[in-house]
């Protein structure tokens, strides 16, 4: 579904990504883990078109993504739940969800989607009239995820959904993600620093270090890998 090959990108000629290749198949849950500054967020921003690559290709469902304007990429079915949530603070919860449903598919499936989103994340139904800027961090994260789901995406990209959240809330978010995935069969690409949880939820994983793919494998091989156990899982 998503195929990234030899991607090199960065800011003002300083490459953050150095020939990264990643593949996500339909229905797969893929996690990208790695330390701070490895280029995980830059990778997502390049897929969404906010950062321009200097080399490499991105293909999404037979479309050459780099030839498509950033604002059109959501309409192909890519939902980006950005780092640090980035909800629209002066819009209400409901209006934020409506913004997530700006795509054609989102318009068509609005009723159905909103029902499911409220079922998965009931706090959003409770707070629907409240301004998003007044929600707590965990609630904002749930809103950001709900907003991503509202567009009926084919690929959901989540950038560090646990960032800055209390461990119990982060656990709850992971639990919700697994449940959402189980019920919807959505293709998910997750970037995460909480390596243990990420590898546990995903089918397949990549370890990104200093802008390169250092390791790749299905979740069992990765979790059994000595380097990962030492460096990330503390075993």
């Amino acid at each position: 579904m998503l195929r990234i090959e030899g991607l090199t990108a960065g800011y003002s000629a300083i490459p953050v990504l150095n020939g990264v290749s990643i593949k996500v198949d339909e229905g797969q849950f893929v996690a990208i883990v790695g330390p701070n500054g490895a280029g995980k967020t830059t990778l997502f921003k390049t897929i969404s078109g906010i950062v321009q690559p200097t080399a490499g290709t991105i293909t999404f469902k037979d479309h050459d993504l780099l030839a498509i304007r950033p604002s059109q990429r959501a309409h192909l079915g890519i939902a980006h739940v950005p780092e640090g949530r980035q909800v629209f603070p002066s819009l209400t919860v409901m209006e934020n969800l409506e913004m997530g449903a700006m795509t054609e598919a989102g318009q068509r499936d609005w009723k159905h989607n909103i029902e499911r989103i409220f079922e998965w994340l009931p706090i959003l139904a409770e707070r629907r009239g409240q301004f998003a800027g007044t929600l707590s961090g965990g609630q904002q994260q749930m809103l950001a995820i709900g907003r991503g789901l509202a567009g009926s995406p084919k690929l959901l990209m989540l950038d560090e959904p646990s960032m800055g959240l209390a461990p119990t809330i982060a656990d709850f978010i992971f639990e919700r993600l697994i449940e959402i995935r189980r019920q919807s069969n959505l293709t998910i690409l997750l970037v995460e620093q909480r390596v243990a949880e990420a590898l546990e939820s995903a089918d397949h994983g990549y370890v990104l270090e200093a802008g390169r793919v250092a390791l790749e494998g299905n979740n069992e091989t990765l979790r059994a890998d000595d380097r990962i156990r030492k460096a990330y899982l503390g075993m």
């Binding site: 980035q86 603070p89 002066s90 209006e95 409506e98 913004m99 700006m102 800027g133």
Partner: protein, 316 residues
């Protein structure tokens, strides 16, 4: 006693009426600033163009013949709005978009320096171009309504207040326009996407909102709104190609008073300025009207630096 009360009520009503038009004028600028964060120095000159557009619609394009002297001017003014909106749309497309929006979002200062120079340049071109095309003679959109009044009263203590008919209609047109704009911004899909683009352009792009297009719509709307306000002012005040300079200061004062980025705030900011301007004539010579505006402005900003409706929050 009766005379003092009458003077007070007269100034108050004049302030409210003129304030409604000033409010609309500020809303046009506030919309552009709120959505795009672009400081537009040419807004006063867009308003000047709106005045001339209404003037020529009225006198040269048959509106006077079709709608008569009483209501013709208002029809011409409402026509000038969309025309200036189209003008604003193309100014954004060809000029402003080159130094704003997603193109400059990653630059240092987000392109603000270039925006200041560009809009100042547009202002100069419009002023001097206006002088060439329209000439330096004072123009005005006169209607018999500008020199007749409704009498309210006599009320308590035999007090009556006179409402200038043209100003009364001006205020009603302003309020209706403001109401329609507010409904559009708060209720419609396009209005919501404008607010989302203002809140967080990057996240709006992730939603599939074309932020540059949202900016273009805001710029066009803001230009059209200010043009309507300009036309309304022109029914009472004569104008010339450099008139924008006088009003742009009032516009900025109103937007800052209301709180940068708040439309309803910009309206109340403009309203406050209209009220202060008219009420100050009760105790000060008319030459000091503008001085009074800025004394009150400084006082309000001293006690409430974020403006009436501004929020003291960090933008994410």
């Amino acid at each position: 006693m009766t005379q003092a009360l009458e003077g007070f009520l007269q100034a108050l009503s004049a302030g409210l009426l003129i304030g409604a038009v000033y409010g609309l004028m500020c809303v046009g600028l506030g919309l552009i600033f709120g959505v795009m964060r672009v400081i537009n120095f040419a807004q006063g000159d867009f308003m000047m163009l709106g005045m001339y557009a209404a003037f020529y619609f009225f006198t040269a394009f048959g509106v006077q013949a079709a709608f008569g002297n009483n209501f013709g001017p208002f029809v011409a003014i409402l026509l000038a709005g969309p025309v200036l909106a189209v003008f604003g749309y193309f100014v954004h497309l060809t000029l402003i978009s080159r130094v704003s929006g997603m193109r400059t979002s990653s630059l240092e200062g987000e392109g603000h320096y270039a925006q200041l120079i560009l809009t100042l340049g547009i202002a100069l071109i419009l002023q001097n171009g206006g002088l060439l095309v329209f000439g330096s003679v004072l123009a005005s959109i006169r209607t018999p309504l500008s020199s007749s009044a409704w009498e309210l009263g006599p009320m308590f203590y035999d007090v009556s207040v006179f409402i200038n008919k043209a100003r009364g209609i001006d205020a009603v047109v302003s309020l209706v326009t403001m109401l329609l704009l507010t409904l559009m911004i708060t209720r419609s899909r396009i209005g919501k996407s404008l607010r989302a683009a203002a809140d967080n352009p990057t996240a709006a792009t992730y939603m599939g909102i074309d932020v540059d297009r949202a900016h273009r719509i805001a710029f066009a709307l803001g230009t059209g709104i200010t043009a309507i306000a300009g036309g309304l002012l022109a029914t009472n005040y004569p104008f010339h190609p450099f008139v924008g300079v006088e009003y742009v200061i009032v516009m900025y004062a109103g937007v800052v008073l209301g709180g940068m980025g708040s439309l309803i705030g910009a309206f109340w900011g403009g309203m406050t300025i209209g009220l202060v301007q008219q009420m100050s004539t009760l105790i000060l010579p008319t030459q000091l009207q503008n001085a009074a505006i800025f004394v009150v402005f400084l006082l309000i900003i001293f006690f409430r630096p974020q403006g009436f409706f501004g929020r003291m929050v960090e933008r994410t």
